[in-house]
Amino acid sequence: MSDVILSARGVTKIFRQGRIEVPALRGVDLEVRTGEFLALVGPSGSGKTTFLNLAGALDVPTGGELLVFGKRIADLSRAARAELRLRELGFVFQAYNLVPVLTALENVEFVLELQGVGGERRERARAVLDELGLGELADRRPAELSGGQQQRVAVARAVAARPRLVLADEPTANLDGENAEILMHLMRDLRDRHGMTFVFSTHDPRVVAHAVRVVTLVDGRVARDQEKPGEAPHEILPGVGKAEAAGHLGP
């Protein structure tokens, strides 16, 4: 019952720099289903960031058809795209990008506040940190955290509002091998227990090893699309029900 949450058909994106046109995507065809753990790989400049920005409704495609949760991104207003990001999407950035003046807990709480969560906001934020094993760091500001810790808090922030799709652009690029491992386990765990869908870009083969599906972009097109045998989304999904009952998150 893995339904399609993202569907790209012939998606193009052309950037204009004055007179020069830079084609970043030249026709991407891709479908992403609920519960996938998808790595986007490819050489530098192949269009990974561009595609993630489109998938995350941060930007609109130049051509083709891109549907995210059944909505045509090209047709959405700025406000509607913001609303979609707020309700359905989570982001993890390469540079962590936590709000520097807020503590780890407040960073997570702020997203819930934006969602309009009322009284139990603080408790929910704390529960998310606890679940990810970050309870001890709750009252520290980003400057008082290591890069690995910051990125884990960033993941907590991304998933706190129970998004159905989490997008991460090179989430481990600034981390050492050990912290990259920890982060991948964290994300994989969230996906296994809550059925959240993750799409992330990376250059790191060790990170790719964690992926269930690997999509390779070359020159703005999908060059390869491999699913790891035995790890198809539908085989993992039955476990979701159990985790939902026990966990704090869950769709």
Partner: protein
Amino acid sequence: MALVAGKYALRSVGRNVRRTALSVLGIAIGVALALFMESMNRGREGLFARAAAYSGSGHLRVVPRGWRLRRDPRLRLAGFEADLAAARDLPGVAVVAPRARAQVLLAMGTHVVPIEAVGVDPEAEQRAYRFVRNVVAGRWLRPDDEPGAAVVGQAVADRLEAELGDDLLATVVGEGGRIESGMLRIVGIVRTGSEEIDASICQVTLGELERLTGLRGAGEVTVLLSDHRSAPAARAALAARIAPGDEVLTFEDLAPEFKGHLEQDKATNRFVNGIILLIVVLGVASAQLAAVLERRREFAVLSALGMRARRMVRLVLLEALALGLAGGALGLALGLPVLWLFSTRGLDLSRLMGATWSFQGILIEPVIYGDLGPWIVPYVLAVALGATALASLYPAWFAARTDPAVALRVAQ
């Protein structure tokens, strides 16, 4: 979005301490200056009220209908007694001074001075016209004074080369245009401090003026109120009670140029004030814009997380609110001692203008006392918050417009 957004805004203000301190100082100085200007403007209102009170013009004046246009001193009230009684019954009345006026030619020896003689109630007059109290020779009029007793200004005496006790020949145009004359004796000489005014003072009792002109009654009933702010209400109440054929004028009606002059002064002050505040607003705006630009990536992240434009505007305005409150508080702290000084000691313009200042026949003390009252708190809040909110509108709009895709691409 109470909690975290509030902390966020407050801590953001504290991020660049030096910039924040400079912004706060700028706002504070602007606020303090605006406060001072406003205090003095309100003080000018008081100057106006005091001028009305001391110069004999009064806050209200009952005159015969038609006097306002013709200004003929021979006109007499339609119902002097009724008007006087109505004025005395008015709540909040301090002094009621009836007067009658006449164009008089004073002569002594070969010297002649044309003047407007005023018949007064000696008791009331001294309280209504503060400057005639300055008798430098002789005495003030008595209620039942000897026939012909007159008090003249120093300049009048000088021009006639007359002294205390000298007799003057007074010639007036009386009832029906007949020329009447009588003798006056100088019993007192006053000096107001203004040549112009001293040259126009010739006061006798009401009875004496009646005798000279043959015109009965009084030409005006001047009313001084304990509080000038009650003038509009008192005017309406008085107008309802006076004799038909008479009307009530206010000080504004009597001295429109004076009022106009004051208003002009105030307008100039407001204009200067506006320019100062504009400079403050521009300064704060550029600081706020710099703060927003520095955090472009942060706003892009917030946008990516789904923060709507309206909330982002609110966040920046919240930061402005914190700046404004701090600036307002400091401005109040800076301005209060100055305000207190000028409200108790006053701004003395006499060095510029001479001891007293006459403006179109109205004598005023050239001291402006700044106004200090509970109005300063809402005023400071309004100015400080208004200025910072205004200064933050563009930066807030700029922040809300951040394109998350572009900003996130920007290298660290």
